[in-house]
Symmetry: C2
Subunit: 189 residues, 2 copies
Amino acid sequence: MKYETRKDEIIQTSAILFQKKGYSAVTMRDIAKSMGIKAASLYNHIESKQEILSDIIMSLAEQFTEQMKIIKNSDDSSVDKLKNIVALHVNITSHNQFGMASLNNDWMHLEVELECYLKLRKNYENDFRNIIEKGIEDNELVNGNPEVILFSMLSTLRSLYLWLPKKEDLDIQKFTNELSLVLIKGINK
Amino acid sequence: MKYETRKDEIIQTSAILFQKKGYSAVTMRDIAKSMGIKAASLYNHIESKQEILSDIIMSLAEQFTEQMKIIKNSDDSSVDKLKNIVALHVNITSHNQFGMASLNNDWMHLEVELECYLKLRKNYENDFRNIIEKGIEDNELVNGNPEVILFSMLSTLRSLYLWLPKKEDLDIQKFTNELSLVLIKGINK
DNA sequence: GTCTATAGCGCGATAGAC
DNA sequence: GTCTATCGCGCTATAGAC
């Protein structure tokens, strides 16, 4: 069976539509039509359109938070921690292509959960930054601007949702290694 | 004077609002309110909401197309061409922070101009890819996967609009150099 | 659990006074 | 060039039959 519950089907169907046009441009009628039912029927399974968005975004934000906690508390070197962060983004994105679009582009349309989301996001970025700064301090990384390094890596990792779907027959493990090489070792010969 | 024409003011004001909430979530009443007039008055200067979006996106797309033509036809090395592309993105983004958000996130809401936009975008990516492939061929760049290199660089450059505004007292030249270093030389010691 | 019907509201855009 | 008033439509969400 493709979906565990009808609510699950609504959320996954919505995520696909939200990726294409964004939360605001997708109507309840669009979602219902994709499922072959009428818009009013959706409300037997969900409270509101807002609840759909909130479910998509917050479950992903919590996955990132949980995994980052494991990575930052490990005994790995800073470079290995960065590689684990790359792998984390590739893994979550490959299992939630569509939801990642909402996480990146539609978080500002959250209502009650907005503040909580922003806090999780800020903490994640701080953990990421601390790992980079520790790597520079320990002479594992070049003595560059940690903000620029953070920005570059995070921008690439946050864009994975746009790019992974294009490579359907992708070997995830191989791709993760290639991306780590480009992001960490650079491209200059 | 801050704006050349009233139409120019509408477009720049809209770009700021589009960055915050996206094209679909911004209403003509929002735009008018930001300018201290009523929504109906906007229509003395523009044809439609769609025209605002189209003006923002297409003028930027044409700037990128024009500058890429100069870069790809120059006699520079591949690495220098890549550095010029970095500088191009930093320059355009620093002068059009808000419009770059629409270029990245709201292009799918274009109507008559959608096809033209997609063509310009595809050509731009092809030119970028060719420069990377030439660099690998000539042994200037490491023998990595050119698609992964393209993806990583383009993701970072396309996210600049999110990041440049946070660094208000930024030395553009210095930042361009730092970013080129990170993207091309990598961060590993 | 899905349907039809519809409430209540806000949207983009237009008409016409000033 | 801006205003008030309004049209026609589509939106989220609800009520109640089946």
